[in-house]
Amino acid sequence: MAHEHEHDHDHPHAEISVSEMPGYYEVMETAIRELLIDKQLITGNDIRHQIEVLDSRTPALGAKVVARAWVDAAFRERLLADGRAACEELGISFYDDTRLIVLENTETVHNLIVCTLCSCYPRPVLGLPPDWYKLKPYRARAVSEPRIVLAEFGTIIPDDVEVRVSDSTAAVRYLVLPRRPEATDDYSEEQLAGLVTRDAMIGVIPVTLGMEN
């Protein structure tokens, strides 16, 4: 909040704390937002509301989808046929025009996802991607040496299992449906969801019993 200072008297100003001054890019973001609001092209409420939308999207949503697919075979079929429609069945709305293809890991195929050109990611159902997903080492190497990349995450895929890398370039987004761990027959759907991590839905690690959230 701006306020007027009288400068015809002597008093020391409090030192400007460098950490409180917004950086150059934050100033730019603020200025652009305010200009667009002044011109009535957007409203402050548009931004505030979209922040709430973004905050509401976390890997817990994807975990719910995975757990439902594990316990309900008919849902799993619908999920594999049209990922977005099946998520919407569970109340997970998509706030953009993207489609979702769910990639099922099986005994013979292990899927992982990447966006080599930018950072496409299934945000409506997983939230925002981690930095490593958006940086060069993962993006450059996931398509050319996926098994070595997986090994860096501690994941070793046997040679008789196909590794399948999906590179997003257009309107389709991907979610990996990881394999259900052994010895979970008596788990409730909620307990199953608690096992499923974001990185398992990217496909870089499996779901294991040691990974309760």
Binding site: T116, L117, P146, R164, V165
Partner: protein, 114 residues
């Protein structure tokens, strides 16, 4: 819901809109064009000239994202295809398993029938 009709159920005399029906079908062998556009493109350099197999047709027809990047949202709707490529055919020194694959969405204007 697909907005194309399989050819055996097409009614004679019905003329589709330009590019309304997909040019390629699942199972088709296709080659990615070798052209090198400057400016905005969405087919990575690593795929240019590569041969793959159509896995599925993405529905519905959508705008060409390469022109959409310049603010042109109309007049360019065609199909995207999910296409698979064996990694050992893309990378000369690929060290993984022979069956390992890449799958990627490609706009119809980038694909040639083999």
């Amino acid at each position: 819901m697909p907005n194309h009709l399989p050819s055996q159920s097409r009614i004679p005399g019905i003329v589709p809109a330009l590019n309304e029906w997909p040019s390629f079908s699942p199972g088709d062998r296709v080659r990615v064009a070798s052209r090198s556009p400057i400016g905005h493109y969405r087919v990575p350099v690593y795929l240019r000239g590569m041969t793959g197999t159509v896995v599925s047709i993405i529905e519905p027809v959508m705008v060409d994202n390469e022109t959409e990047g310049y603010g042109q949202n109309a007049g360019s709707r065609r199909h995207y295809y999910r296409v698979s490529f064996r990694l050992r055919t893309i990378w000369a020194a690929y060290s993984g398993a022979p069956a390992d694959e890449l799958r990627i969405e490609i706009f119809e204007t980038w694909l040639e029938r083999i």
